[in-house]
Symmetry: C2
C-alpha cells in the first residue's frame, strides 16, 4: 500500500472511527495502514475531533500509554436532540394513533431506521457517563431502540422474553404484574445471556406503571446484575409507578380516547 | 458560519453521508453549509468516493439535475465479508451451542452490535440491486438482523408477530406450519404497517424447512406486496424446503447432537 494523502486519510479515519463507537484503536494501526508518521495521524485526529465537537456530534478521546489509542464517543447536540424529540412528539400527537384501551400505535415509528438511529444517539448521550456492560430490553417493540442505543454504546443486547423457546437454552423466569392491565405474566432470560455482576442499561419503548421494567429489574436481581439506568421512549401517566428513576424522551401529557385527542410532550430527559 | 477548510469539510461530509445511506443530499446543501463553491464540494465528493471504493466500503452516486444530489451506497469488500462470515461459522461450530432438538444457541451473536452491523452491510451489498421498499422479519430473533440490514438500505422494518397485541391495531393473520416441528402457528401483521404493492425484502436469523418464511410470504400476498428477496443468517438441512430462492450467509453442514458435534460453513451468498 502506498503512502496516503492527508485528504484520503481524513476520510478513511473518519469512517473507521464513526462506524466503531467506543472502540479503542491504537495510533500505530492508523500509522501503519496509511504509511504515515504518528505525528501526522495525531494532526488528522485533532482535525476530526474539532469538527465533531463543533457540531455536537461527539468527540475523540485519546488514551495514552502502551495500551492506548483513540476512540469515538458519539453524541448529539441538544438542539438536534430536541428537534428529533419535537418531531417525535408531533407524530405521536396524531389522534389516528389512538387504539382501544388508550394505547398509541407506534410500530411505524419503531420501524423507521433514521428515527431509531437518532434515538439511539440521544440515549447514548444521556447514559454516556454510566458504565454500561449490557443493554437489556423485552420483546418485541423495545428491541429496535435497544439495538440503536447499544450500537452507539458498543454494548451487547440481551432480550427478556414472555414466551421463551427451546432456542434460548436454560432460562431464569420471574413473575411480573403488568401495572396497566393487572395481568400476571412470566418474563424469562436465557441463563447464558448475562454474566453475573453485569452493569445493565434497561431500554424500552413504552412505560406506564412500569411493571415490565420492574420485571426486568427483578430478573436482573436473579443474575446479581446492577441496573445503571432506565430509558424509555414514551411514558404515559400512571396512578402508581413501580419504577422510581428513569429517563423518558417523550410523555403523554393528555389523552382522551372518546374525544380522540392526544397530546405528547417532551419527556424528562432534557428537563 | 465562517468558511470551512477542505480538511474539515471532508470530515463532516464523510460523516453526513456515512450516517445516512441511500439518502440523496443536494450539493447546494453542502455548498451553503460550508460556504464553499459547488466545484469545491464536487472535488471533496470525488476524494470521498475514491477512498470508499478503493477499500470496498461502498461508493458515492451522483444524480444530475434539479432534484439531484449525491448519496452513499454502502457495501463491504468480498474479503471483509468472507472474513466476517468465516468468524461467524467458527463461532457457530462450537459444540456448546447445541441445544435439545438440534437447535443452536445464537442469542449472544444476535446481541453483538458489531457483528450485526457487519451482517447488515453484507445483506445490503447482496440486495443492493433490488428495489427494497420495506424489510420484513418475524419476532423475535430476526429483528436485530432486519434492522441492521434496513439501516444500510434506509428502508423501514415491519415485524410479523406470533401473538399480536392490542398495540398493533387491526391485523391480518395467516396460518403457518413450522416445518421443523410440524406445529400450526398463526402469524400476524398490522394492517397499517405495510402499504399495498410494497416491494419487500424478508430477513430472518434461521431457516430450516422455511415454514416461517413461507408464512411471511403468505402474509405479503394478503397485502398484495411483492417479495424481492429472502436473506437468512443461518440455514440448516431440511428434508423438504418450502422456500425456493433465498440467500444464506452460513449453513449447518453437519450436526450430531449425540456426539456433540456441529460444523457450520459458508452459506450460498458467496457461491
Amino acid at each position: 500500500m502506498e503512502k496516503w494523502k492527508r485528504s484520503a486519510r481524513l476520510v478513511d479515519i473518519t469512517r473507521h472511527l464513526l462506524t466503531q463507537p467506543y472502540r479503542l484503536i491504537p495510533l500505530t494501526t492508523f500509522a501503519e495502514q496509511y504509511q504515515a508518521a504518528k505525528s501526522s495521524i495525531s494532526e488528522d485526529l485533532d482535525i476530526i475531533h474539532e469538527v465533531l465537537e463543533a457540531e455536537g456530534n461527539g468527540k475523540l478521546e485519546t488514551v495514552a500509554g502502551a495500551a492506548g489509542g483513540v476512540r469515538y464517543i458519539p453524541s448529539i447536540s441538544n438542539d438536534n436532540a430536541l428537534q428529533v424529540i419535537g418531531r417525535l412528539c408531533e407524530k405521536l400527537s396524531n389522534p389516528e394513533r389512538i387504539l382501544p384501551g388508550g394505547f398509541l400505535y407506534m410500530s411505524d415509528l419503531l420501524g423507521d431506521p433514521t428515527l431509531l438511529d437518532d434515538i439511539g444517539r440521544i440515549f447514548a448521550k444521556v447514559f454516556a457517563e454510566k458504565p454500561v456492560d449490557v443493554v437489556m430490553t423485552v420483546e418485541t417493540k423495545g428491541i429496535p431502540i435497544a439495538y440503536a442505543t447499544a450500537s452507539y454504546l458498543r454494548a451487547p443486547v440481551v432480550i427478556a422474553r414472555y414466551d421463551y423457546r427451546v432456542t434460548e437454552g436454560s432460562v431464569v423466569t420471574v413473575n411480573t404484574v403488568s401495572g396497566s392491565s393487572r395481568r400476571m405474566q412470566q418474563l424469562s432470560l436465557s441463563k447464558r445471556s448475562l454474566p453475573e455482576g453485569s452493569r445493565v442499561l434497561i431500554i424500552d419503548d413504552f412505560m406506564k406503571a412500569g411493571g415490565t421494567v420492574r420485571g426486568m429489574m427483578d430478573l436482573l436481581t436473579e443474575f446479581k446484575a446492577e441496573v445503571v439506568g432506565v430509558g424509555v421512549m414514551l411514558e404515559a401517566p400512571a396512578e402508581e409507578r413501580l419504577v422510581e428513576e428513569y429517563v423518558s424522551l417523550a410523555q403523554v401529557a393528555a389523552i382522551d380516547v372518546k374525544e380522540k385527542m392526544v397530546r405528547v410532550e417532551t419527556g424528562n430527559a432534557f428537563h
